[in-house]
Symmetry: C2
Subunit: 152 residues, 2 copies
Amino acid sequence: MAEEERVEITDAEWEIMRVVWTLGHATSKEIIEVLQVKKEWKPATTKTFIGRLVKKGMLLAEPQGNKFIYSAGISEKGSVENAIDRLFGQICSRATGKTIADMISKALLSHEDVRLLQAALDAKTDQSVDVVPCNCIPGQCQCKNEHNINCH
Amino acid sequence: MAEEERVEITDAEWEIMRVVWTLGHATSKEIIEVLQVKKEWKPATTKTFIGRLVKKGMLLAEPQGNKFIYSAGISEKGSVENAIDRLFGQICSRATGKTIADMISKALLSHEDVRLLQAALDAKTDQSVDVVPCNCIPGQCQCKNEHNINCH
DNA sequence: AATTTACGATTACAATTGTAAACTAAAATT
DNA sequence: AATTTTAGTTTACAATTGTAATCGTAAATT
């Protein structure tokens, strides 16, 4: 039952979570090493983020002797979903399709990815509507008709 | 020549920009009204963000009598692209395809959108690769082979 | 045993962000 | 002309974020 995931993850915190999500579990030493190379963070910096994430429950710290083994307290899937919702909450709902199309064009995809995309798209075909309403202006403006403006 | 757009836009600032992008140009009064309804922001709050955006050059203020007409100093397209790059910079490159597929499944799309998506996907078909490398861990790990970890 | 190292906890600190009140000057209304 | 409304500017202020040094203690090394 998809754990409570209304949590906000900052950019820096994402870097920590990515390491843990990828490794499954890790010591602070491992996390520090990865980010020292990848982000050129001082060990102290990484320690700060680990501490904050543990306090927020996004990282679980299992005692192991006098230190800890860290693992993810929130799922990668749910977190990515949140990030996606945030992105699409920011842009005009009418621009969603075009935006996703741009992503596809830019992305490096595997053959398998392409199949996945095709399947998702096929499933959409009979669920698409004539006009997606704009949500930039309250009242779901009819733009051209109502305000005589070009709403995308 | 796509204007310099390495600028960061915060969530709150996006709300202001959306109004301006949608209307083309607007008075502070108009922006304030929209966000008073949509976000329940006090006029003073909206004023603060307008001021900050103008200072950063993201909003242009054309003097009109004793007040201003505001318009966008950065393009919506470029800004959306930045937001997308940021999102995909955060998640594992290997998860890009699956993530986009999820977006499609969730999105409300128009028939036209579906056609757009299909076109973008068709263009991808002959450009896809066998395996997208993971970028969560430095050195483009080979995961299973190299570190014996499940890299997604 | 003495010393060095490692790791977690505490403290620091400036910049950014969200949220808004207060102030000021010009314009509109009474 | 006096008053009220507007719009822009200045100031406020706590929380968050990025970035890190320092401190204390337990463990490993010499």
